[in-house]
Amino acid sequence: MTELATNLRRVAIDPLSRVEGHGKVTLLLDENNHVTQARLHIVEFRGFEKFVQGRPYWEIPVMVQRLCGICPVSHHLAACKAMDQVVGVDHLTPTAEKLRRLMHYGQILQSHALHFFHLSSPDLLFGFGSDVAKRNIVGIATEYPEIARQGVLLRKYGQEVIRHTAGKRIHGTGAVPGGVNKNLNQAERDALLADIYQIIAWCRDAVAMARRLFEQDPELYNDFGRFEANTLNLIRADGAMDLYHGGLRARDRDGKTLFDHENYDHYWDHIYEDVKSWSYMKFPFLRQIGPEDGWYRVGPLTRVTQCDFIPTPLADVERRAFMAYDSGRAAGATLGTHWARMIEMLHSAEAIKELLHDSDLLGDDLVMHGEHRERGVGVLEAPRGTLIHHYRVDENDLVVRANLIVSTTHNNQAMNEAIRAVARQYLDGRELTEGLLNHIEVAIRAFDPCLSCATHALGKMPLTLNLIDAEGREIDRLARDGSGECSAGECC
């Protein structure tokens, strides 16, 4: 807000609301021109927590999945897990539980394939600073047609799993409070079984490709945007990776366990949320450490490195190889997220295969009933990380309060730390360059944040980069629009 001579005031609204998918990053310098802070401004305002208020609880699992077109199943299932508690159901029937898991693994598979092949592979295969006209999925299809084809078909398979379990590839209705509304019939099961072994083989190839990237340029991949973080994920009672259900496990930067197998029903005993004036996104932190240093990282890298084992054989072999690679350096690298993501994709494919051989999927016992409760909390591991849905429902069955902590929100400060690390590595003096912008983009994309998947059309993430000196003055600005064109902003 600026006072003008005419007594008129110019009101600048920044960040802009509903400017879907435009990332904005501010770098703050100290007196010696060192980057002290990086801020990724999330400028999309969704408001779901507000507008589900006053709606009946049974609408919520279908309503909230509209948060996203890439991972709607995650929101659908997290909300349904919360509503299971509201309808007084603590244990689903085997058929319902396994169908939901099948749907969830289909979701993980398709989302990870989309991210790795469609969004990230152009950066990884062509190089971070390569020609933007080529650095996209079309370029991949031209130069690496078999990789592009596998990416498309892997995603298609995951979408088919979702279609058979939820009725539609995107925004289906398979899960209902207390269970599911359909089983898998013989024909659907056979159709999915026909391709699953090819899918597993392609997933193994994808893991190998992620490993090769590290082998080709270990210095870059190990150190790019590297930072130490507290971590949080769900874990099965026996310590196995479980993406659908489990207790909360958190460790500090030194690997010391802060809490383990904690019931997520009272997640607020461990996690609080802070707010900042410059972002619509909240800043969750571990209460045990505090708001300053309690930020943490969620997602594939955390899950793969923090589980004791992966309960499917091929993926667990890859997990052990990942953990051992270069004396564990890859397991702490920001770009190791891509490798971990492919291990999870392989795990999902194996889990789908095991489920498809389980006759419980064909059962008819779909829904359980219980006594109404006023509160429900549902937590699962979405493709991008831990996802928390929390609702209060009144005596008339209407939602009166909702709190959603989505994966990208958990990773909020972690992304800032990755950006800061990259800026420290690649910012030369006080001038912003396209190379720096490209590298920051790669660091952000490693987390697969929602703004990336919403807007990352053909590899050209619209991004604005601001450089602020110790006096708070903007000393440089660089913007790239959706067509990939870079322009220096008017400043100074």
Partner: protein
């Protein structure tokens, strides 16, 4: 053309004395798009979707008496364009958020929109903000989805004998109200077994704690379009409706 026939889009349609144009057409396996018409209730003519052109003038076919020798245009681009506009207006006046509505796939308004080829909003949405009434233990009302067809009003009076519902206001402010001192459904004697609890063509009056129990692909209009189902259901009984005692003399 025999004595008791009229001409619909160039073909003869037989009728029985007392039938309306819509009733006779449906009985003869001829579809005229309609929305507020319900075969168990006296024709009402509120939504106008069944409007046809009779001798060059428009008329609601659900209330227009069938007469020998009428020349009626229905399935023309002009009339279907008018119907699309009417359906667009109904969508724009309410909050018909189909993606999370339990009625989706079973909704007459949605099915009619698909059948008529409504692909755009057409009008600026009015986004009414009417709180839902969830005070009843087994039923709830989302007033934002009401299309003022009065089927619940008629069912509650004529079949249930309770007169739980009424329309209030005029013009654009007309709205559905509940006939209880508090204005809440929970303070009425409506039962989930009542006809009024099941007659709503959209998602305004629904049973509680039922959501998406029927999978996508198995819902009513997933199986066949509304035009085919309307014909499959015809001919229908013409049992005269009886007003309930509590309504007698009220008008």
């Amino acid at each position: 053309m025999s004595e008791n026939t009229f001409n619909l889009d160039g073909s003869p349609v037989p009728f029985e004395p007392g039938q309306t144009v819509l009733q006779a057409a449906l009985a003869a396996d001829r579809y005229i798009p309609h929305l507020c018409y319900h075969p168990e209730f006296k024709p009402h003519g509120s939504c106008k979707v069944c409007t046809v052109k009779v001798g060059g003038r428009t008329a609601a076919s659900c209330t227009f008496p069938a007469q020998a020798g009428l020349i009626i245009e229905s399935n023309t681009e002009e009339m279907n364009a008018l119907r699309r506009t009417l359906v667009q207006m109904l969508f724009a006046e309410g909050n018909h958020f189909c993606p999370s509505c339990e009625k989706s796939g079973n909704c007459l308004l949605q099915a009619l929109g698909y059948d008529l080829g409504v692909t755009t909003a057409g009008f600026r949405h009015m986004f009414p903000d009417r709180p839902v009434d969830a005070s009843h233990p087994d039923l709830w009302i989302d007033f934002n989805r009401c299309i003022l067809c009065e089927l619940c009003v008629r069912a509650s009076c004529e079949v249930d004998g309770k007169c739980v519902f009424a329309l209030s206001g005029r013009g654009i402010t007309k709205n559905l109200v509940v006939n209880s001192p508090s204005g809440l459904l929970g303070d009425t004697d409506i039962s989930p077994d009542d006809k009024a609890a099941h007659v709503c063509p959209v998602g305004a009056i629904l049973p509680k704690r039922v959501g998406f129990a029927v999978p996508i692909g198995e819902r009513r209009f997933d199986l066949s379009p509304i035009s085919a189902q309307a014909l499959a259901d015809a001919p229908r009984s013409q049992t005269p409706a009886q007003p309930c005692s509590s309504c007698e003399g009220s008008e």
